[in-house]
């Protein structure tokens, strides 16, 4: 009998609990809830868990949730906001920055975070001569490094050699734990530390999640860090999600099947998939978001290098061709022959954006829409060419320059990128109808890079570069001394007046702390580029995501993707 009663009691209780949950679910529909997993797919394995020595971005997908910097960039406003530092001030001369660290922050192994960790990250890791890291390139001005010192346990001072406008943004650099890594640094093993063979519990950060497990080639799982410092607006301890599971699915079609099957919560779409996926929204319970144009750039570039090969004393570029490539009218005519609408239609199913400026529209503040825009107009291009002396003189269908040389040049792109190959063939087709002879060849990536960097034996290339919201980080491309100043790299003195002006803008812009004055400078730079056309821009992809309809606080942006505010995301 007692048995019966206790069971009956249990039954009643569970009925009550179920009822309670039903009521609470209805009543609290829009109040964030704890628990649940976000399941994502990743095309590749992480290459390392070491944020300092990692050479590429796929590492950051993992580490971005585990580590934090002193500041962070809000992916919606694109403004710097406090993270591990709760406030900061800058000295009169704009060179000394004092950061007040957030008190009571702990590493996910329970040990307290302090100024020592910040000093360690900079002085012992980034500025360590034995450690190879590209982070060092960001925190170096000329040959001088920043002086980083501890004032007290919760205060750090950075003293810069000169003013550096993107400083606050660069302070989103991940801070790593001294107590975990000091030994590896002392033993000079840091270059090979925190690789993918490290036990997950060793990877210690302050971020909202920590690494739980990693199965190479299959999945890595991040689990909620219960010690995370951040609270939501109504006082909830963040994050809401229990787990983020990344399934490693290399094949995009398999990933798509997994998404449609409900196994994965997000998939980024390519333009040509849109018409197939969009109609399934209601049936499969997801929403497609278009968060605007991609970052980065895609362009057509002519070799304007006028120097000579120091060994053979021959010019890198045939002087006959060099004369065309240096002629602004020639480049302008080509700019009018770039059919961006057609590229967007054919390559991206209409879901792309024409690019007119180096800064992407998604970059927000520094994007200048008022630049020279070259509409697609072949007859105008033809007119410009014939006014500048390029016309068909012997009736063979190929135009010649004023000294009678037929216009013929090579066009390269890297064979791995299907989209670029297609862009190049569309451009080639249009240039041929202008009467030019274009020999198109797609090369292996490394071969192309060798041509751009070392041998300079190329005429024209279709290429793209990564970009961001901070114009200064493109200095290596735009400053005439830069190694990525593609059309004429590493100049001793600027070859043209406009390149001199661009150099001035970049030298001034990095020292100007007034945002609006900076914008005026970089606006001018974008106008100069659009008039001088060292790079002739093509088209950018849209950032399209399909996300399962079960997440709250979801605000996808082009800069941060669908889950940039991962700690606030919850499952409805």
């Amino acid at each position: 009998m007692a048995y019966f009663f206790s069971n009956y009691h249990c039954f009643l209780r569970s009925v009550f609990i179920v009822f309670f949950f039903l009521v609470s679910a209805v009543a609290r529909a829009d109040v964030p809830r704890y628990g649940g997993s976000l399941i994502l797919s990743s095309t590749s394995d992480p290459k390392s868990f070491n944020d300092i020595t990692a050479q590429e971005t796929s590492t950051h997908t993992v580490t971005g949730n585990i580590f934090e910097g002193l500041t962070r960039l809000n992916a919606i406003t694109l403004k710097v906001e406090p993270a591990l530092a709760q406030s900061w001030e800058v000295s009169e001369d704009g060179r000394a920055w004092t950061f007040h660290l957030r008190p009571k922050v702990v590493w996910n192994d329970g040990l307290p975070f302090s100024a020592d960790d910040v000093v360690f990250t900079f002085n012992d890791l980034i500025y360590n001569e034995d450690i190879v890291s590209s982070a060092r390139d960001i925190f170096k001005i000329g040959d001088e490094i920043f002086k980083v010192e501890k004032v007290d346990d919760l205060t750090v001072r950075f003293t810069l050699p000169v003013k550096f406008a993107p400083f606050l943004q660069s302070m989103s650099q991940s801070i790593l734990p001294k107590h975990k890594l000091a030994k590896a640094v002392a033993e000079k093993k840091f270059n090979f530390t925190w690789g993918i063979d490290t036990p997950p519990a060793e990877i210690v950060g302050t971020g909202p999640f920590k690494l739980e497990s990693y199965r190479p080639g299959e999945r890595f799982v991040l689990v909620r860090n219960p010690l995370y410092w951040k609270k939501s607006a109504n006082g909830d301890a963040l994050p809401y999600l229990d787990r983020i599971i990344y399934l490693i699915v290399q094949n995009q079609d398999t990933a798509m099947l997994k998404f449609l099957d409900g196994e994965v919560d997000l998939i980024s779409l390519r333009g040509f998939e849109y018409p197939m996926i969009k109609p399934l929204e209601a049936k499969k319970n997801f929403t497609v978001y278009d968060s605007g144009p991609d970052f980065g750039s895609s362009f057509f570039v002519f070799n304007q290098n006028t120097s000579r090969n120091p060994k053979t004393q021959k010019p890198f570029v045939d002087p006959v061709k060099s004369k065309w490539f240096l002629d602004i009218n020639f480049r302008r005519a080509i700019a009018h022959a770039i059919d961006k609408t057609k590229m967007i239609e054919i390559l991206m199913n209409g879901l792309g954006y024409p690019q007119n400026s180096d800064m992407s529209e998604s970059a927000g503040f520094f994007y200048n829409p008022n630049v020279e825009i070259y509409e697609y107009d072949l007859s105008k291009a033809k007119r410009i060419l014939s006014d500048a002396g390029y016309r068909d003189r012997d009736g063979d269908g190929v135009i010649e320059d004023s000294s009678g040389h037929p216009i013929e040049f090579n066009l390269f792109t890297n064979s791995g990128n299907v989209e670029r190959v297609q862009i190049a063939s569309i451009i080639r087709h249009d240039l041929q109808s202008l009467g030019m002879k274009v020999n198109f060849l797609s090369l292996e990536f490394n071969t192309l890079v060798t041509k751009l960097n070392a041998t300079f034996d190329w005429d024209a290339i279709v290429l793209g570069l990564t970009g961001g919201i901070e114009p200064h980080f493109g200095k290596n491309v735009w400053h005439s001394t830069g190694g990525l100043h593609l059309w004429y790299p590493q100049q001793k003195t600027p070859a043209t007046a406009w390149e001199k002006r661009v150099d001035e803008i970049f030298d001034q812009g990095v020292q100007e702390l007034d945002e609006n004055k900076r914008k005026t400078l970089y606006d001018e730079f974008q106008v100069i580029i659009s008039r001088q056309l060292p790079l002739i821009y093509t088209v950018l992809n849209s950032n399209l995501y399909a996300v399962r309809n079960k997440f709250g606080n979801l605000h996808p942006t082009s800069f941060g993707g669908a889950f940039h505010n991962i700690e606030e995301i919850y499952i409805k």
Binding site: Q55, D137, D253, T254, L465
Partner: protein, 321 residues
């Protein structure tokens, strides 16, 4: 016999040395190196790239690089992967085993299905069963395995019958060993079937041909004439002679155990060596490529040796001295 095996093993060493030299030369002859891909990142300076090149000793003369790699091999160190910044052995460790599982299951499946099919087709030569088997074989032979894998995956996504790629379920750790075995088996099914289908078609045809040839021999006629039961004629006298040529083939299949399934692994998200190898070759992660390719070479040599030894055991006419 033992002397023969020893002799074979000793001749393997210069072979491997030669292979490694050719591999190294091939990797080095193509333009550029791994760190070239960093050169197009506006935020990485040329100095940093030089430091990477120094760290991995890519600035040393080629012969020095090769011999320092070779001496490391003698200490069983296979060098560091540029991509992962950790020893190559740690990168490929678990993946070798995964690829091996997939290939092994597919090998069993291929041989387990193809041999009986071939025998059956030979016995019922030109009857309906034979015609059907030959027709299906042509279909199997002419459909690429990645396409079959995509079809199977699509079918599975519609029916929910098997998991969609991967190798372990999310709750794999909670199973006991039987549960774990069946979990992996469920995951391996699609890639293994896709991998086997074309090989079944091919192997079945070889088996059928061999069997028909043997069945036409005088001694089979003799066996039948003296009144042996048909079962015994086929399964004891004919089969043993028909299967000999296939043993050599089995030896070659060993080399494929670690390299045959790259494309399928990518499509079915199987965590093996395939995709790793592909990106390593593309990005010129030299030591990773060297290690995995040499592993394939060792398997090929071992497989051949194994096949030769098996032949001696199965065929009394063959002797090595």
């Amino acid at each position: 016999m033992l002397r023969y095996i020893l002799k074979r093993l000793i001749t393997t060493l210069p072979l491997l040395l030669g292979m490694s030299l050719i591999l190294f030369a091939l990797m080095k002859m193509t333009p550029g190196n791994y760190f070239d891909s960093l050169k197009l990142n506006p935020q990485i300076s040329p100095e940093t790239i030089d430091r990477y090149i120094k760290l991995y000793q890519l600035d040393k003369p080629l012969l020095v690089q090769y011999f320092s790699w070779l001496t490391n091999i003698l200490h069983l160190e296979f060098g560091y992967s540029f991509f992962y910044n950790i020893p190559v052995a740690n990168v490929i460790g678990g993946r070798i085993w995964n690829t091996f599982i997939l290939s092994f299951v597919s090998l069993i499946l291929t041989w387990g299905v193809a041999i009986p099919l071939g025998i059956c087709a030979a016995i019922y030569r030109n009857k309906f069963a034979d015609r059907l088997i030959q027709f299906l074989s042509y279909v199997a032979l002419s459909s690429p395995s990645f396409f079959i894998a995509m079809l199977l995956l699509y079918f599975v996504s519609q029916s929910g019958f098997l998991p969609l790629g991967g190798m372990h379920s999310a709750n794999y750790e909670e199973f006991n060993w039987i549960g774990r075995f069946f979990d992996v088996l469920r995951h391996v099914a699609i890639p293994a079937i896709a991998l086997s289908i074309a090989s079944i078609g091919a192997l079945q045809r070889i088996m059928r041909g061999n069997m028909l040839e043997v069945l036409g021999q005088q001694y089979i006629l003799t066996a039948r004439a003296k009144g042996l039961p048909e079962q015994r004629v086929i399964y004891v006298h004919a089969l043993r002679n028909a299967i000999n040529p296939l043993i050599t083939l089995l030896g070659y299949e060993f080399s494929g155990l670690l390299s045959g399934a790259a494309l399928l692994e990518i499509i079915c998200s199987w965590p093996g060596l395939g995709a790793l190898m592909l990106t390593a070759v593309q990005s010129k992660d030299i030591y990773l490529v060297m290690a995995t390719s040499l592993m394939g070479s060792v398997l090929l040599i071992m497989g051949n040796l194994l096949a030769d030894i098996l032949l001696v055991r199965l065929d009394p006419r063959i002797r090595y001295e």
